[in-house]
């Protein structure tokens, strides 16, 4: 290890601030990958849920039945996400309001829309969860890495000041070790940038789909209220 310029030897031989920077970047990378994987799984699942739910919804199934099947799943300790939670919020509110005797159709619709709006904003929150963290890792970790690099180069040049004969061989290991910090910063930042862009686009698409669905559903309920 002493003779070779291995990557690990450089990391171990780095000065404390640089090592600290590397540690921070490693932690940022680990956490951002947790988020990336979790977000990827979550978004894919909601996408699938959206597709299957819309299929069953537009297949002409009875809405009461659909609601009840959702109840069954809730009792089995499954959470209900995405578009189904929108449907459930709206439908529950609709049932509750329309059962009361003095139900004004406009008031019913207003209540349903409000409930769905609340559910929609909650869903949006879930869709965009963790994305700000990815955005900050993407934008900040190169700077942190750069800080480590600048610090390391500063250090190695300060060491150079005492040497009578300045050769590249004296500064090179220091610079190399300092550059590892930048490499790690980029290593953390690049996946975060890609994931952030991709996931925020996906979240936008899903949000629009939810929005459309809530409009469609409220129009169906509207028809029902006024046909009664």
């Amino acid at each position: 290890m002493t003779e070779q310029l291995s990557l690990w030897a450089l990391v171990v031989g780095a000065t404390l601030p640089v090592q600290l920077v590397m540690l921070i970047l490693l932690a940022a990378s680990v956490v951002s990958w947790v988020m990336i994987i979790q977000r990827g799984l979550y978004l894919r699942q909601t996408r699938g849920d959206l597709d299957t739910f819309e299929q069953t919804f537009w297949s002409g199934v009875d809405l009461n039945e659909l609601f009840r099947s959702g109840n069954g799943r809730l009792n089995k300790d499954n959470t209900i996400d995405g578009v189904e939670s929108l449907f459930r919020a709206g439908f529950r509110e609709f049932n509750r309001l329309s059962q009361s005797v003095s139900a004004d159709p406009d008031a019913v619709m207003e209540g349903v829309e409000r409930a769905m709006r609340v559910a929609l904003s909650r869903e949006e929150e879930k869709l965009n969860m963790n994305l700000p963290f990815l955005a900050s890792v993407a934008s900040v970790s190169p700077y942190i890495g750069l800080f480590g690099t600048v610090w390391g180069i500063m250090h190695s040049f300060r060491g150079l000041a005492n040497v009578q004969q300045a050769t590249l061989a004296i500064v090179a290991p220091g610079i190399s070790e300092a550059l590892i910090a930048t490499a790690m910063g980029l290593f953390a930042a690049i996946p975060a940038v890609l994931a952030f862009n991709r996931f925020s686009a996906n979240a936008d698409v899903l949000y629009n789909a939810y929005d459309t669905f809530s409009d469609e559903f409220s129009s169906i309920l509207h028809r029902r209220v006024h046909s009664d």
Binding site: S6, W8, I37, Q38, L41, Y42, Q45, T79, Q165, T167
Partner: protein, 264 residues
């Protein structure tokens, strides 16, 4: 908000995500630590030194050999000379004795034939000649001996000079190497011979490439290094202390510049 913490725990894929992220980074660390070393280079930080040897215009090797060959001869000469001297003295004594005897014989036999006298005279002449020859030989040998002696003295003083010159050579080499900046195209086996001319203050008067290394950038860098030194301060001391050595060694000298410890 009441629901959110509960839901967060139940959002799909958190445990999967944590496990896979940690294993991903663990794998990466493992690769970095154990397996993959990008380049296996020496990290030993050591100054580059270049061996530059000074070549003297007059290579001292030949006289050394000659002297080494001659020295024992000189000793031989001494012995020979002694022997010859002794022999000659013995001869002289003998001759004198013989002369006395001859005179006695002459007195004894005054009536010697002319022929006999002639022969004796001839003999005498021969002996004289022999003596002269011996003396000449001796003188010659003495001369040769003196020559050898002076040569030996020269050799001894040259050896002392050489020590002195060696230290200055090392100094010159150091100065040049310190002022040398390595061109990127320099390689280990390059060798350029520079002809350097100094004045007694140690200032560099001229530098010329006498034998190129084949790489003009390298030649130029070596030449520039000498120009950069500008003045070898210590040589002034030398030229004051013994101008003879300076004139002999450093007025014009050749320097072979070889970077043989580059990490190239």
């Amino acid at each position: 908000m009441r629901l959110l913490p509960v839901r967060l725990g139940k959002l799909p894929g958190y445990s999967v995500a944590i496990v896979s992220s940690l294993s991903l980074h663990g794998l990466l660390l493992l690769i970095v630590i154990v397996g993959w070393t990008p380049e296996r280079k020496d990290v030993q930080i050591r100054p580059q030194y270049i061996q530059a040897t000074l070549l003297q215009v007059k290579p001292p090797k030949a006289p050394v050999a000659k002297k080494a060959a001659k020295k024992p001869k000189a000793v031989d000469n001494k012995q020979q000379k002694l022997v010859v001297k002794k022999r000659a003295e013995a001869k002289k004594r003998e001759q004198e004795k013989r002369k006395i005897r001859l005179r006695e014989e002459k007195k004894k036999r005054e009536a010697l034939t002319k022929k006999e006298r002639l022969r004796k005279e001839q003999e005498q002449a021969k002996k004289d000649q022999q003596k002269k020859q011996a003396e000449a030989r001796r003188r010659e040998q003495e001369l040769a001996f003196a020559d050898a002696l002076s040569e030996e003295e020269d050799y001894i003083s040259a050896a002392a000079d050489e020590q002195l010159v060696g230290s200055y050579k090392a100094y010159i080499r150091d100065r040049i190497v310190n002022n040398w900046s390595r061109p990127p195209s320099a390689r280990r086996n390059m060798k350029v011979v520079l002809g350097i001319q100094l004045v007694p203050t140690g200032r560099v008067v001229s530098v010329a490439v006498e034998k190129t290394s084949g790489n003009s950038a390298f030649d130029r860098s070596a030449e520039q290094a000498v120009y950069k030194v500008e003045r070898f301060e210590k040589l002034q001391e030398l030229s004051q202390a013994s101008p003879r050595v300076f004139e002999k060694t450093f007025r014009h000298f050749r320097l072979t510049f070889t970077p043989d410890d580059l990490r190239l």
